[in-house]
Symmetry: D2
Subunit: 362 residues, 4 copies
């Protein structure tokens, strides 16, 4: 990618936890150049270092310390071409819609447009092919360059990668059951009160189960032939059941999944492991610099992946899978780990944008 | 039970974590009188307080402080009628077999005899009816009073109670899927190293999944008509799939379960909640003093049960259920909490023994 | 105390974490009868069970479930004689002042009046003798029955008990250094965000060090001869230095203290242990039912007290001390554990009130 | 350092937790080349990846995966010039003594030789000047190249750096009081059982207080004029009192310290902060590649340093200080954070060795 021209980018919601992670990743990016930090009016006009409650384990990047934060008004994003949005969902809808109208390419981590029938819900290692709906999105809204791409919910993202690898190797899945154990960082800051989670588990995360159950159908499904709508996996209806739990882990969502394939007989555990190991995504082929070298790492040890030991593998840009074995009820069960703050959030948006650049959408 | 005569009991493995819990519960028992503490030769001959590494949140009961510990040799249990065994499985087999031959009634928390075709695997709120095989067990071994009763694995126990309540109300279950999040106390002391579990989850517990998958068929199944063997739920084959995780919680196993009933249409979530709430076990009817007032507490709040808030309900002798809802794949899903050190271990053994006393088996 | 008449009490701030603890303790109290639950207007008019976010490990007491919550307006406390205040400090000042004027005896856990020159700052195992200023407080304000008693900050309370026992046995202390490790429950709910404290320590608690350093002088000091003012330990100036940390522990503040006595030579570790063990407070002598049987438990084991093992000793109404040994810099060092939600908060208020009843102040 | 020749090194105790950290650091080192992994006979003859229980959050370095582990017999270290020892103290004494006799330069993290009157106890940012005793050590033992250098206990190391910076700027310290809150990784693996530390603190670490109190005098003291003995800070006797606690934190020891200077008046907090910020060690001046860019980072925020946020600063090779303020008892108090597994262990040994190379001791 050495010949890639520099692309100017902004971060909306720059002071929040997702915004902080965007800043960490973008500060070291080979061709994205951070030109604008945007946040609430409360922070605007002040140096970034004076308004942020920095919660990352690395210091604030030096080039960002004294950048003056601006508001999220649509005229405050300067000459950025791409806006990464780490906004909270209560404000993301209006801001992102305004930015799109102002002809920005918006890559959003917020949930507001995930169910929009013209907006790709894009896990970059899975379905960047959904970018093909972007021309329709722009045309329908009378725009030249403006569009919105969302990435998926963090727990959905982790599961979507191996499920897609399995469908590509063995054909459609009929049934997916998953129980998640999700890290506290997934709830933002201040997020989960410590009295709720120390020496405890909360077996409920508002709307999370519905997100997983629905988003997977959009992500794993295809586009209609006219490339103007999503088919929601309708050719091969897929039933998904999720149970979501919050656990006392800082980073890294662990998920216990069981699946049933349409094809009989189903593949063996060894065939599944081979298929996961060999999976190579379009984003990797294109050389997206934030994509992992290996999309799916498959552990042979019986007790892996584990959040603390495996969440930083490849800077959290891939997923780890382990315990691939037969399921007495469905066909196969396995364990997935995704780094919710990296691939599960900011990293996905950035790879999506890298894909857009490589494909000429920016 | 005020007229119940005193029954003399011993604890084998008295210094271990399960043994400590037995001692706490027995010291306050209305009619079991603790007459013997038995442990390894290393501890024998010394005062209990000088050899135990006490890890309970209540002090050592005063009457036990200076009791002299004896070995587990079969002649060291004095005039006890019942022996509660909290022994580790590496020694439990020989000791318990010896005690049975010496005509003791042995109530064991160890796993060694759980698959024995003549030994009841007994969750006291579920299948004390399996005691009916005890005459056969004694006869086959030529014994008058000696027999072994085991209680189930802690995570199995918690799930067995609501599953049994459902089968009693709605007929046989066809399919059970469960993902467990198990507390560290389930692994004993020293058990799980802190470096393995702080800010982490281990998605594996050796042989635990196999235990759940097999033990449920024995517990929920019945006895053959001649009361000399277990039918392992064979009349209505039941498929069980378990995924087990160790989590950073001190006490209390949380389990996310999904079930499918044989009967069509299945009961509604409201019918299931009613059935669980109305469930009343044989042990409760008999007035066993350690049985809970309510066997299954059903939460209506969306985020319960939680280990830290609910594990001490009724001194941990019942189970808590919440989030009863439809499952997009099977019929219904719900969350179960069991106190693994109480109902999941020592309390079950004690209620089993109370049942045996009430029914004349002691 | 069997002949003590029933005393009607109210709880202001009944839905907060301290209020919840008051309710737990008062529901089982031998002679305090809970007649009024008062909270913010938002909760008023509704059943307690419908407005509280209950965070205790025991269920809401049955007699409280359906009590209708009232506001904290001064005419809403009915015929209560005593009001226990678990109010937040931002509202406690006005409410408590109003209640005093309305002739209620107010026992407050809030900090607002702790530095008031007419209000006792009372650790019930230490300085209930300060109640002697109450007649002056009432007289100065022209009241017949109304007055305010505060208990101390939780970390101050734990340290004050052994320090007082030492001063009573060996004369004045010259120097006290203490480093605290304080539980998250001390910060209320939602309190400390989990992202701040999981796998972490925060070496700072706002104003906590100043509280310990000042409150100890008021508590350990005496009254002026005319019983109209506090002497703040002025006869023997005492220097106190505190360093406060928040740690990932649910309940129980642990404190590492070093002290220097005025008297030379100082007492030996063994003399100190004896003095702490033999300490018997006025509240115990009077038979206050919530006072501990033993005020200070002294551990001989090298690694105690520990929060999880020792915080429930005597229902958290006493303090635990361990590791009494010589200090290479000052005279002696030791470790103190106090249950911050019991003796460190609600229990202290209740024993203070019991003392007031016993002494005829109510 | 680009012209530095390659230096061949071995790791003794390669499979332990300190050994694993040595391997991580050495695999990326600019001129140390890892030529030998040595461990117990149980591991010898097998590939490293097959015998290690890897507990690091980064994968095993690729070049090490298949290295064949050898025993710690003195003839098994091949042509290494330096041996880094991460051995447990029960075997370290004999092995290290043997290696020294065999003319290896031994840099040990074990405690066995820390009190040896000829062996430097060397915190690399503090007292590499103690290397001047090495010629005496070799001569006294009749050796040409063999010698032993130890680094300090992890909690001592963190405190020694700012104390040394203060003594260099303001002259001798008279008194040091410190309370430590130490991470579980300091106890190795399996180390602290999770049942002892989850939701808990253990106010005791065996021999740790004695280590801090004594080691500081050796480290902060000088050499006698003949460079044949250590003066143990004898010219200005220094009293040190330590209280040590184990806390539920994975990595990073936090320490609350108070100090008194000999000089009157003492420096102000601002002077202290300036002195700490300006401190620049000999190892940094020499360009040791593993030395931090900044030895001491001083926080102005009131609530820092914190283990989780600050332990990875500069890869854990510096220390963080915060909350510099006046102490009501001594002169000044502050908080120190040291990464116990990096600067507190392997990193110190490696910088010590880099210093030895730069100074011609290797």
């Amino acid at each position: 990618m050495s010949t890639q021209r520099e692309v100017r980018v902004a971060v909306a919601g720059a002071t929040g936890t997702v915004g902080q992670r965007f800043i960490c990743l973008l500060s070291a990016h080979p061709y994205f150049r951070l030109v604008s930090l945007n946040a609430s009016p409360r922070s605007a006009g002040k140096a970034y270092k004076d308004v942020v409650r920095w919660k990352q384990s690395v210091p604030i990047p030096k080039n960002v310390l004294d950048m003056v934060v601006k508001t999220c008004d649509v005229d405050q994003f300067g000459d950025a071409e791409i806006v990464f949005s780490g906004l909270d969902s209560d404000v993301a809808g209006d801001v992102e819609e305004g930015l799109r109208k102002a002809e920005y390419a918006v890559f959003s981590n917020a949930g507001n447009f995930r169910r929009d029938p013209m907006v790709p819900l894009c896990v970059p290692l899975v379905n960047p092919s959904h970018f093909a709906i972007v021309p329709h999105q722009k045309e329908a809204l009378g725009l030249k360059k403006g569009y919105i791409i969302t990435n998926a919910n963090c727990s959905t993202t982790g599961l979507a990668v191996p499920l897609y690898a399995l469908e590509r190797a063995f054909g459609p899945l009929e049934t997916v059951m998953v129980t998640t154990m999700q890290a506290i960082s997934g709830a933002g800051y201040p997020g989960v009160p410590s009295l709720d989670i120390l020496d405890n588990i909360v077996p409920y995360i508002g709307k999370e189960e519905e997100k997983i159950e629905w988003e997977l159908t959009k992500i794993l499904g295809g586009l209609a032939d006219d490339q103007k709508s999503f088919d929601l996996h309708a050719k091969h209806p897929m039933k998904v059941s999720a149970s979501c739990n919050r656990v006392p882990v800082v980073d890294g969502h662990l998920e216990c999944a069981s699946v049933r394939f349409a094809r009989r007989p189903p593949p063996s555990p060894q065939q599944v492991k081979d298929a996961l190991r060999n999976f190579y995504s379009e984003a990797q082929k294109l050389g997206c610099p934030s994509a992992p070298e290996q999309a799916i790492f498959v552990h042979d040890e019986p007790d892996r992946p584990q959040p603390r030991l495996d969440r930083l593998f490849q800077n959290g840009s891939g997923v780890s899978v382990g315990r691939v074995r037969e399921c007495p009820v469905l066909d196969l069960k396995f364990v997935v780990l995704v780094n919710n703050v990296n691939l599960g959030a900011a990293t996905s948006s950035i790879i999506n944008a890298e894909y857009a650049v490589a494909k000429g959408y920016v």
